[in-house]
Structure formats: structure tokens, C-alpha cells
Amino acid sequence: MLFNSFQFFLFLPIVFVLYWFVFSKNKSTQNVFLLIASYVFYSFWDWRFSFLLAFSTILDFSTGLIIEKADSHLKKRRWMRFSILTNLGLLAYFKYTNFFIDSFIDLFNVIGIHSDPYTLNIILPVGISFYTFHGVSYVLDIYFGRIKPHQNIVDYSLFVSYFPLLVSGPIERATHLLPQIKEKREFGYVQGVEGLKLIIWGLFKKIVIADSLAPVVNEIFQNYQNHSSITLIIGVIGFAFQVYGDFSGYTDIARGVSKLLGIELILNFNFPYFSKSIPEFWSKWHISLSSWLNDYVFTPLALRFRNWGRQGVFMAVTLTFLISGFWHGAAWHFVIWGALHAIYYIPSIYSKKGLKSMVKKKVELISFTDLPKIIITFSFVCFGYVFFRADSLLIAFNYIEIIIIDFISNPAQLFLLPMGVKIVYFSAIFLILELLIFNYKLFSKKVFWLSLLLIEIQFCYDLFYSVDIPNTFIYFQF
């Protein structure tokens, strides 16, 4: 069930009404109802994977209790490792089995041993990358004594499978979400209105921005050999706005839906394309994943390598970004995308201004003197997107090669901006509007109705012209 589907627009009002008007007497019944609703929501994809979700939930819940009661550090460590390895083993099986089979076949072919390509027909359970991270962080936090294990399995199950964040995050922490689940929620008018605004704005970003850009970007990336350098550059910039509209739009809807249910989810995007450096970009893009990787991958690695000085930090950063790339997709072009961002980090590590605190509450005021830094950072991010968006490593390299060779042969094309320029123009205005509307609290009724009107127009246009609407969100595949 997608957030932008008619099913969901039936599902949400039903859940809302039952949640606030039928099951609102106490928080336990509210939580049982929300848990059932979450499993119904999840089962719309493939009901069989509900059992996997339940297994993962019970495993981490039980492990938490066992670790707490274990009488020696050794036993605690063994149980922690058992839980983490089981979780990551399941993730590896469903997500990476075919990647490893393909890679081994390629490797054998290189050394002259030819084998028949054989891959398994494994379906990736939706959201497994996200709920696995919920469970892993919960167990590690208990192991390190940061939190106490939760005693109520319904509340814990809801923390893992809460439907607004189940399939694409944001990746929540037990310290933030579980206290809200434990408390009784009261419906607040202001919170409800804010939730609706976020849902409308998220739908606007997904349907009007991302889905409008998708056909143009897809065409450019699929037929990149037939396009000029400038068109390929516009294709990448278009993808930058598409992926932002798609994923931050999804997150806004998730946060808005959750607000309607009286639960606040963490901020996941904080105007990342206005960042003045790569570390700042990562503190504002997919914040819940960045901070998760920071706490559970980078910090343990950096501690292990701490006596190697800056080289140790660089090693930790590199491994963290490689894992991040691999998490995004079981393909080498994602790994290279991660490696590229690790390289981008080098100046920050050696100037020691690097990894500033991960979540900043508010975007700073931007002055014109910041503009060159913003443009340079955005250009580096876009260069990385070539690897992120391309279907393979070879295509990514070819794409970049055409950009360079075609540009050298005809540099004047920079001033002959083709049709794609309107995408960039349109998208840049949208980003500035978003900054003004949300950061400076300008989300008025007019903006609300205008967004709704534009969503309606886009829907009607798509229906009338039978446009092939991208019916899913980019981050669902991760």
C-alpha cells in the first residue's frame, strides 16, 4: 500500500477514526489497534513477509531481556552478537545473495573458470533494511547500557512496525519513539493541522515535482548515448531534485500521518541542497540514516582505529560510506557512490572541521557569499548521483565520459540551454519556496490550497493523457 495510492486514502481515515473515537479509552488498546493496522498495511505488499517482521521483532525483544538478565559480560556479548548476526544474516540473504553470486561468477570468468549464471529468485521484503536497523540499534543500546529493555511486547512491536515509518523510515531510535508509544496520546488540533500540511506538502513534492521529473530523467539516463553534454548534466540535476522530492516527500507524508496519530517522528531532511560542505550535506540529508551510521558504524570503527590518528578516522569514514553505498543497493555503482563521498570527506578530516553534530534544528540564514560554496557542494553531490542513478558502473563511467568529451568538443553548448533548463529553473524555485515556507513559517492557507490544487491538476493531467505514473517511491527498493 503506497502513501500516494487510493487504498491508503481509504486506509488512513478508517485508522484515524477508529484510533481516536473507538480505541481511545486507554493507550494499550490504542497500541494494539495501531499494531494490527501496521501489520494490515504491511500485508498489502506480501502477507508472507509479516512473519519475517514478527520473527525479527520477537528475536530483538527477547534478546534485549536476556542481555539485561545475563550475569556476565561474556554472555551479554554472545547474545548481542547472536541477535545482530541473525538480523544482518537475514538482510544479507534477502538483499545480497544474488549480488554475491553474480560477483563470484564474474570473478571466476576473469580467472578463466566459466560457470553457468544461476541466481535465486529472491523477493526483497519491503522495509527490511529499515526495520532491521531499528532492531539492531535497540539491541546495541541495551548492550551498551544506554537504555533498559522494554517489558511490553506490544509497545516494542509497534516501535518496529509502526506503519508510517515501516517501509522507508525515518529510522527511529528507541529513546525517541518508545516513550511516545508508552504514553497516552491526546488529539491536538494544532498537531493535526501540522500533520495535514506535511501530508499535502509531501504529496506535492512527490506527485508534482518528483513524478514530473521522472520521465525526463529516465529518458536522459536510458538514452544517454544520444544526448549532448549539457543535456546529460541537466539529467543529473533533474535527478537530484527528483530524488529529493521523492524521498523527502515520502518522509513528509510519513511525519504528517504520524502527527495525525499524535506521534512525532524525527526530522529526516533539513534543506540539504543549501549545504555549504559535504559534511553539512550529510548532516541534513536522510538524517536518520546518517546519524544511525554515525552511532553504530562510524563511531565503533573510529574507536577501533583511534591510535592511527587522522588515517584511522579516514579509514572509519571510508568503511562507513562503503557500507552506506552497499545498504542503498546491492550493486557496484552504489559502492562507488559511497567511496566517492568518502573521498569528498578528506579535506574535512584533515582540517578537523569534519563531522559536526548530526542534526541541526534550523537552517542558518544563507547569504550571497555562501552561494559559491553551496553551488560547489551541490555539484559534488550531483557528480555522485551519476553513480547512484545509473543502472551499472559501466553506464556511469560512459555517462561521465560523454559529458567531458562532448563538452570539450563544443563548449559553447553551455550557453545554448535546451528544453531541460526549465526543469532546473522550476526545481530551484521549488527549493527556495520550500525554504521560505517551512523555515520561515510561511505555510499559509493559500499555500495549502495551492499545493492541493497543483496535485489535483497533476492527477487529472496524468489520467487524461494516460501518463505512465511512477507508482512507487525510489527508496522502497532499498
Binding site: 559480560h73 551498551f144 547500557g145 544506554r146 554515525n294 552511532d295 562510524f298 563511531t299 565503533p300 573510529a302 574507536l303 577501533r304 583511534r306 591510535n307 578516522v313 578530516i349 578537523k352 569534519g354 563531522l355 559536526k356 553534530s357 548530526m358
Partner: protein, 75 residues
């Protein structure tokens, strides 16, 4: 060892490059803007070097506030 907060303070000021920094036993990373994940690593290295100790990863990961560092130092 009897290490006090006054002994840790200069290390924090130096690593976090903030001479006006005042830390107490209840200070947490979120209270100090300069105390990010990278500086946390440098802090660990500086404290280990100054007091000639070696913390385990489990000890470091369990710290919630400056007081926890002092507790482990004085063990």
C-alpha cells in the same frame, strides 16, 4: 587514581578548541556544540594519553556524561 573534573577540563578545552568551556559531571555531548562524533574520538585519545589508560570499546560506548568518564578513570 583520584582524577577530578578539574583535571579533565583542560583536555576538553584543548580538544574542543574552546577556552571558555565549563564542564561538569552531568555535561553530555549534546550540551557542547563542538563535541561531535569526530571530536569524541580525539577526546578519548587525549584522555588515554594524559592519564596513561586504555579504555575498552564497551566502556567508551557506555558513557552517557562526563561523570561516566571520571568513574571509569578512577576505577
Amino acid at each position: 587514581m583520584d582524577i577530578k573534573i578539574e583535571d579533565l577540563s583542560p583536555i576538553f578545552c584543548e580538544v574542543l578548541e574552546n577556552d571558555d568551556l565549563l564542564i561538569t559531571e552531568s555535561t553530555v555531548a549534546a550540551d557542547v556544540p563542538e563535541w561531535d562524533s569526530l571530536n569524541h574520538i580525539y577526546l578519548v585519545v587525549a584522555i588515554e594519553k594524559q592519564f596513561k589508560v586504555k579504555f575498552t570499546t564497551h566502556q567508551i560506548q557506555s558513557w552517557k556524561c562526563v561523570g561516566d568518564i571520571l568513574t571509569d578513570l578512577n576505577k
